[in-house]
Symmetry: C2
Subunit: 206 residues, 2 copies
DNA sequence: CCGGATTACCTAACGGCGTTAGGTAGCGTG
DNA sequence: CACGCTACCTAACGCCGTTAGGTAATCCGG
């Protein structure tokens, strides 16, 4: 009957594991950026951190588990960027415009990350519950941002997320590294704002 | 020095090959629809047409070559649908509205096809020159459609293709089989039309 | 400082993938 | 009837993600 003795080491091990996992995830981001979201193998990822492929299973349960961590990290990064940009804005309209711009910039800066977060590209990968909750937070942030503008229509928010992801997706799919679609975000913001607010705000009644 | 003798058989062979290729492509569409664009193997595809995997190489040079044919077929199908819908419209505005609606319907009807045609999902697959020309034809059709409305701005056309693919992509990525984004196409059409034409048409000068 | 437990890696191997090589029944035609 | 070609097959290669099992190095209480 093996009692648990010597607790302290377990904490140290977990700490070192956390470091190794971070290193592996950084290497995975780099491989994804260089060769596409699915264009690398566990052998290559292992080599990038000085290991053989099977050793990666000490730190992650599967390749999909690595994708799940990348998904969560990407969500947290985007949330951080959006929150910072929104905090800097002085008016609701400015927060909306700058938030939209930041979203598209974030997306086109890393095509593989865009695919992982917003397109179901890997048939076997489904985000874990915790990771998906982070994705929901992103859309809620956008929705709240719109609500401050007086746009309480859920359909309007859906249309806006579709427009933003559409611009980003067309950019990275058809002209990676270019600006042809990315530069349209301000124009799209203005047009969206004009059509969705004019329907409710210029008419004083209701 | 083997001269080519007996020409007729060669033609018959090519004809039968065409039939077999069509059968294989049909099975591939079905597998892609059921299991995702990349969620099937050549063994499964072969089994679906009563062959082993290596025998498929009689008809296609590689799996990517099969994807290329599917890509071309998808483009031709979409072109056919759009041309038919546009021909039925009586006014430029109606053609625009119905064409947009048809585009989104076509896309959400078959998620894997949408991924193949508009999202770079398979790292190893790059459309052949001929197939890509068909994809260009699609965007040109949309651009011409807009031009008939007096929208000659290339940026406006880009924004519109981004909006349409964005709606379709959000639909199939976040709620496959649903209508949450797909139903917004008419609203998006109206908003787009309002903002892009009001900037130029109500002002008579210029 | 010793000895056993634990850690952190390794090699070997499995089944499946896309793909290539080589072989063979059966059909169509001179 | 015999030949050549067609249309398939099996075997095999290297790579994939993954599992099993083994082994040096390290840690820590006695």
């Amino acid at each position: 009957m093996p009692r648990q003795q010597r607790r302290p080491p377990a904490a140290r091990v977990e700490e070192r594991h956390r470091g190794a996992r971070g290193q592996i995830l950084n290497a995975a981001w780099q491989l994804a950026a260089e060769r596409g979201l699915t264009g690398w193998s566990l052998s290559e990822l292992g080599a990038a951190v000085g290991m053989r492929a099977p050793s990666l299973y000490v730190y992650f349960a599967s390749k999909d588990a690595i994708y799940d961590e990348l998904f969560a990290q990407g969500c947290r990064d985007l949330l951080g960027v959006l929150r910072q940009v929104i905090a800097q804005g002085t008016t609701p309209a400015e927060r909306f415009r700058e938030g939209s711009r930041a979203f598209v910039e974030f997306a086109v800066a890393h095509p593989a990350r865009l695919q992982l977060l917003f397109l179901r590209v890997i048939p076997s990968f489904i985000p874990s519950e915790g990771s998906y909750a982070l994705a929901i937070e992103i859309t809620q942030l956008l929705t709240d941002n719109l609500r401050q503008l007086g746009v309480t229509d859920d359909a309007a928010a859906d249309l806006w997320t579709a427009t933003l992801t559409g611009l980003a997706t067309q950019q990275v799919s058809n002209e990676p590294g270019g600006r042809r679609w990315a530069r349209l975000v301000d124009r799209a913001s203005a047009a969206f704002l004009a059509t969705t607010t004019q329907a409710h705000s210029p008419t004083p009644e209701e």
